[in-house]
Symmetry: C2
Subunit: 226 residues, 2 copies
């Protein structure tokens, strides 16, 4: 795939994917037309069928591009030692920190400098909320490892919780991260503050502090100021 990306003969293919991310993010799958995407990519709309076997194929390729760019780098998280091993708790704590940081910083923070990154997040968030049948397998394949990793960290940090409680906690934390991403639209409206994304990381960290304190893991993100 990298060979293809470097191939100038595939330049229009790459431009189409980029334009697709932007346009699908703005208007959704049904709202976006391949003519508009092609216009944006300075390419011919017939190339959508040639390169991607149609609109749905282009959509899937756009999602794959997002996962390789944004999600896969995040997944380079250190392996956790087996529970009970010496230093397992400290390793889990570090893993937990990395997980949150990866989501908050790499995955969700966006300074608006790269419109494609911004659009990629919007598109992924919408796809998580309302997955298309054709892309749900792709979605699960890429996201499942994260839930497993998070639950493993939590188990080492809170061995007193039973399986049901661990699951509820994992879902809650994960949901919190996703929620802030999903709520950007309405938060912006309520605050009447178009520049609000700048404060996103601060707000997320603020609540994560509360949640972790409630979970009995206040040392996950020690606050220099407190």
């Amino acid at each position: 795939m990298n060979a293809q990306a470097a191939d100038p003969a595939h330049a229009s293919r790459q431009r189409l994917i980029e334009a697709a991310i932007l346009t699908f993010a703005e208007k959704g799958f049904d709202g976006a037309g391949i003519r508009e995407i092609a216009r944006r990519a300075k390419a011919n709309s017939a190339l959508v069928a040639y390169h991607f076997c149609g609109k749905e194929g282009l959509y899937l390729e756009a999602l794959k591009a997002i996962f390789s760019r944004k999600v896969s780098p995040v997944s380079q998280l250190a392996d956790l030692p087996s529970p009970g091993a010496p230093g397992a708790r400290e390793a889990a704590l570090q893993g937990f920190r990395n997980y949150i940081r990866a989501f908050v910083i790499e995955l969700m923070s966006c300074d608006g400098s790269d419109p494609v990154d911004e659009a990629a997040m919007i598109l992924m968030a919408r796809e998580m909320q309302s997955p298309r049948p054709a892309s749900s397998a792709l979605l699960v394949e890429h996201i499942q490892p994260y839930v497993t990793y998070l639950t493993a960290c939590l188990q080492a940090l809170r061995p007193d919780l039973d399986e049901e409680e661990l699951f509820a906690t994992g879902v809650s934390i994960q949901g919190l991260l996703i929620h802030f991403r999903n709520s950007l639209g309405i938060i912006r409206l309520i605050r009447s503050n178009p520049g609000y994304p700048e404060d996103l990381e601060k707000v997320i960290r603020h609540h994560i502090d509360f949640s972790l304190r409630g979970l009995g893991i206040p040392e996950a993100f020690p606050q220099p100021g407190n």
Copy 2:
């Protein structure tokens, strides 16, 4: 509006709104066609223009119907005394309890017996994530009071927090409630437990306990068992 709802001459109008909620929830604004909606409502598609001045008007009317059915009843919450008045903290605590209870029980608990209720939640969640320009004013108008109320409760409970922290906390708690509602589908899949919704309130309370403990408001929902 109630007079109209009771008028049998407006029966098809009502059926169109109901079908619109279902179809827009399933396919989004652009994915849903007025012909399909009309077919579902056993009405003529030309009535969309007659009753609602077009598709966008029907969409707005569907949102309004959702707000009157689901959101407005929740808003019948007691007024809070002014901050600093005697008993203000206790009143805020009670208001906070009522707010959570109203959301968990009235707004979110649904056994799936009513498909329209189910679709209404999906539609509202999607609209919050990606508000349409034409409906954002409606959205803010209906949701703003809840954020204000929740923030007022929190302010009385945690007078040490500044405005930014209060907002972040309110959004977080609100997001938690919405997240659990939205995630029911995927949670069911992951757990392979079709009866999972029965435990919904328990799981939500479980996490809310964590969050409130972190917020320093552990007495909001005292646990008889603890």
